[in-house]
Symmetry: C3
Subunit: 321 residues, 3 copies
């Protein structure tokens, strides 16, 4: 006999009532991924993500909780020996490191009012900063070269423990239109010596004003190529939501991103970006569409020219549950 | 505090209403397994299967979904080093490849009306064809020598990604009494060379007529011992449901199965089969009983003489949840 | 869309009604762990435990079920290569054997009236005996030197299959104030020879009388250092719940424990113990507090002097869901 979980949040306890709950959600997506000049240019791509959020609320209104993900991708043929040999994967392959695996690193938190403390597989300050994900291109993200800080800092990891398998600590505080988020973790700054000798501390502040969001992030890291400064501004210009983001990515230099989202009908939008960085071979740009099919399902596709000069595209369906 | 999932499907959204849901079901079974002349003839056998079905339905009535299993068996002492050494496993052992593992390969699908497209860890056309599983012998299946196509084609894998870890693509179409199912996947046809150089395409058609089901399956595979043709007919003769199945299993030759199920009381049935194949040492036959205890629980047991001449038996309890 | 599991048990089918259910519960905890003279004295400790209980009830009232845990700790820096090199783990590390792992060994059971039979990853008789866990010190348990039988017998394993990866069999019978629990499993008594040549059978009986509980456990094991006899008595003396426990741990000799729990206010209690054993360097003792924050959340902390002479302490939050 199957069990049905109610597709509603109306039953979540109201504020002030102590409650303990575990919720299951997530999404699936599948479709085609094309990459120019790959041994196999067109492959099937898919992801299944089950997210478990477990919480309990104290009498005083503090919510304690944990977030865990169980995820499986098959969008990386490189990880399967059989396929690597001839690069031939017409039907896509399940990543060897993800089939038959379980939970990712857990993020624990305590939250009350506008304050949240996180421990473990933390979100990371720069990763969470407004303007770093101005768009979500196509079905699969298509390289994320429109993320200015370029993952050069602590970040939540859906497959592993986050930040090289190590946990971190973070504090997030929201007061009205102002948000500040600070995170700290350790890094393996000298590759291969097995010593966690590096520190990494990051902070961002963001302010929402008249429909515009301004954000500034700073990071002090023992890794030379980690982001040092990043800033973004985003807001609506007519029918478009536009973001301009910049990052000083340490010894790798500057990274600029201009991205926008445009509604083209009641259930369709188009996203586009152009990005350049000192460590890019050439400019990176891309465009996509997202068409809602209703009920949490959507048709998505995009095309991108990576900074390497390679063209890639994807097309498929995503469903949230 | 425990969370209770409702044991009902009455709450699933009715047709036409967009919905997103994740359901948990599965079964557990445990009991004794006996195999003649094994180093340890009688062992404890058990399986726990948790099946996760996540779906979302578009406004137009297309259901997108994913199926995942998390399963653990302890019916194979060979996989545990400690036990293999002396073959002694009085209490059964948990399979090393299944303890502490997580999800199997995901099957994604899109379904509307009578049409379904599947991607990833596909069911497989021949595996799904009527008449291939005419019975389910005993507690554990007892060797499945009554499955004529003999797993010589793509098949859903509850532990791994299916079809050697690779995904496939399939289309299932049902129109009234007629069903057709086509699947395609890649095979590693030259063992050990690491190249997915083989193609495998299969299709079956089935027709239900006056209480009888006729099915014909065809497969074109680069694996010499894969099934080429298989056919089955099944229906009721008096109190018995009887199936006759045949498969031409490539260079391994013919495989014949005659199987039946007989109700012997309100809550008990008996199943039996006889099978022969060119690659059997001798005829294979077996008999079992299934006694419902109500509430999704049952007592099951069977005895079989494998084609190798070895006798095996099992007895235990299964509960669905 | 998230799914909400109801935080209530009121919906469990009443006795006599056949039902099949799967429930999800568990707890999370996180905080700080201090250990004197460790390479990194203060680390972050955390655990996430998701417990899955799947059951079905026959018409005759027999409940068949399975218990599975999915658990992740980050309290053991030794298991991560990177950290082992310099022992430096300021933010705690996720255990390599637990990140990306899934289910532990499954315990199957059949239960009717006061009788329960368990198979697989069994609880174990001595592990379940009253008085073996008189207290649960601090946030993390802090060494469990107050457990007299000292894990020298079969025990449920939240991470693995239990009892060296092998399953066992156990019978539990409760009749009024009397409980008896017998378990049997195999042991690898000669380390490294790969043979499961050892037997281990244990039994305890417990009797509740006038607010006091008396328990006696016996074990016959081929492992020399396994417990042979253990006994405990526990009950209330004024505002305190006090336990005295003893174990004859085979060739390792005697183990004595005196422990107590004292309520100090409506939502706070204090636990303390003193223990000594022939295999201790010196006496072991510790004290903790548990302060309920309501809604299944609590603040916990403790300090202990291990039998090795090392001092350790922890402090943090636990939330049940």
């Amino acid at each position: 006999m199957k069990k049905v979980l109610f597709a509603t949040t109306a039953l979540v306890a109201t504020a002030g009532v102590a409650a303990a709950d575990v919720t299951f959600g997530g999404y699936g997506r599948f479709g085609l991924y094309y990459q120019e000049d790959a041994a196999n240019e067109t492959t099937i791509t898919s992801r299944f993500r089950l997210q478990i959020d477990a919480t309990a609320e104290s009498d005083a209104g503090v919510t304690f909780g944990a977030r865990v993900r169980m995820q499986q991708d098959n969008d990386d043929p490189i990880d399967t020996g059989d396929v690597a040999a001839d690069g031939f994967s017409p039907s896509g392959t399940f990543r060897g490191d993800r089939v038959s695996t379980g939970m990712n690193g857990v993020r624990f938190f305590a939250r009350a009012g506008g304050l949240e403390v996180g421990v473990g597989n933390i979100f990371g300050a720069l990763e969470s900063m407004p303007g770093q994900y101005p768009i979500d291109l196509g079905l699969t993200g298509l390289g994320y070269e429109y993320t200015a800080y370029n993952f050069r800092g602590a970040a939540y990891d859906s497959d592993e423990g986050g930040s090289a398998g190590l946990g971190g600590v973070e504090v997030i505080y929201t007061y009205g239109d102002f948000t500040v988020h600070a995170s700290f973790d350790k890094t393996d700054s000298v590759a291969g010596d097995g010593n966690l000798d590096g520190d990494r501390a990051a902070i961002y502040g963001a302010y929402a004003w008249n429909g515009w969001t301004f954000a500034l992030g700073l990071q002090d890291s023992d890794v030379d190529t980690d982001t040092e400064v990043t800033a973004s501004v985003s807001g609506d210009i007519g029918p478009a939501n536009v973001t301009l983001a910049y990052a000083d990515n340490g010894t790798d230099g500057d990274h600029w991103v201009l991205a926008g989202r445009f509604d083209v009908g009641a259930s369709t939008n188009i996203e586009a970006y152009v990005a350049d960085a000192d460590y890019f071979d050439e400019e990176s740009y891309g465009i996509d569409f997202n068409h809602s099919l209703g009920g949490g399902t959507s048709l998505r596709g995009g095309i991108v020219k990576y900074s390497s000069g390679t063209t890639a595209a994807d097309l498929g369906v995503r469903f949230n549950f």
